[in-house]
Amino acid sequence: MRAFGYTVARDPAGAVRTATNTPNATYVAGGTDLLNLMRDGAEAHDHLIDVNRLNLASITACSGTLRIGAAARMRQVAEHAGVREEFPVLSEALLASASPQVRNMASIGGNLLQRTRCGYFRDAGSACNKRVPGSGCPAITGQNRSHAVLGGSDHCIATHPSDLAVALTALEATVHLLGPGGERAVPIADFYLLPGSTPDQETAMRPGELITRVDVPRTDLAGRSRYLKLRDRATFEFAVVSVAAALRTRGGVVRDVRLAFGGVGTRPWRDTRAEAALRGRPLTPQAIQEAGRLLVADAKPYEGNAFKVELVQRALVSILGELGGLR
């Protein structure tokens, strides 16, 4: 790693001030992705601002909302009794991520901001429009097994690896930011950007902004949720395809449903068309398959990842079947 400066921020406003006034600075919480990005030359920073002493690690249930501090650790959130009971998909997604050691270290905010696993992005010797705008995308005609079939462009087809982000997308969470311009809240549906012609711009965050917390609405639906993660190993591996689903039925008819997908889109992928196709209808394998077909209707497969088009449909059948008591 190149040398860099390091300071410990004492309060959130101070952290933002330092970030704004220090060239090429970045925040560090757990550091579990950042350190590798710097080692690999995918990112380079001249200054790290430690955000672990800002009192942003609490998990608080308010009426109607669960507030998760951005500096809360993955393990802490996964084990939280309130999270396990009211948002099982969240706990499951976190426990399916990383390893026990990394879950002790990694923060919620950092998890949301982790970068893609695309091998070209993480290899400083490769062309990559995300890392070096305009240099090209070798994945489109090269190794693209872990890449997206939805939401891609001629510039980039990289997926976002966070399981937490997929779960929070299904739960319609809101990301709270503090920046030079003050506080603002961004719905998670708007937080991650499609690559388009600017794959280097991954989120709606502005320079100097710090994630302070994530708010999750407390709903009856959220309590009936699960996370299904399909991957090459039984554990300690990123998703090939994943689904976060929440489902409420009565008398076999779908009252409400939320669906978000990982591994298939260039960002955590919510499909409200597929949800609408299920809402108000009896939950049957046929209905789920129809929703799945809608999900992949605009899918663009590549040589290495075409299997995902079928796999995600099967994953949807599996998870909704389980949630809906069909299996």
Binding site: V28, L48, N52, S99, M105
Partner: protein, 154 residues
């Protein structure tokens, strides 16, 4: 920068650049080479140590980020000649071949048991999955952890 930590019960101070990982600080500056550098990117677990009682991958954190922390490395487990129950179990169950992953496995196992995640073979396999073993001593590692968990519960 000056970093003060308590390592295996002793107060230690090191002066180093921010980019020095906790792993390198332990091995290169403090001479505690029991902790191993297997991959230096958080994928193998050989660098696992305890920080304030929790298991972490020391290659994935900087020494400067651990100001004031209590660190336990494999060198800090035994009390004199008396091995930790996990160390005893690893010997008893032949839970290592080349030994490269072993300190990380042991530190991870100590915490795994402490966390209450060693209740069954399946649970041990899942909760030890952050530690790889190229010699594939997994079967015996799991047996050792299960045995040590019983010992600790006693």
């Amino acid at each position: 920068m000056e970093v003060e930590m308590t390592v295996n019960g002793r107060a230690r101070t090191v002066v180093l650049e921010p980019r020095v990982t906790l792993l390198d600080a332990l091995r290169e500056r403090l001479g505690l080479t029991g902790t191993k550098k297997g991959c230096d990117r958080g994928e193998c677990g050989a660098c696992t140590v305890l920080v304030d009682g929790e298991r972490v991958k020391s290659c994935l954190t900087l020494a400067v980020m651990r100001q004031g922390a209590e660190i336990t490395t494999v060198e800090g487990l035994a009390r004199g000649d008396e091995l930790h129950p996990v160390q005893e179990a690893f010997i008893k169950h032949d839970a290592f071949q080349c030994g490269a992953c072993t300190p990380g496995q042991i530190m991870s196992a100590v915490a795994c048991i402490d966390e209450g995640h060693a209740g069954s073979e399946a649970e041990i396999r899942e909760w030890m999955s952050g530690n790889l073993c190229r010699c594939a001593a997994y079967q015996n590692i799991v047996a050792a952890v299960a045995d040590a968990a019983k010992e600790v519960r006693r």
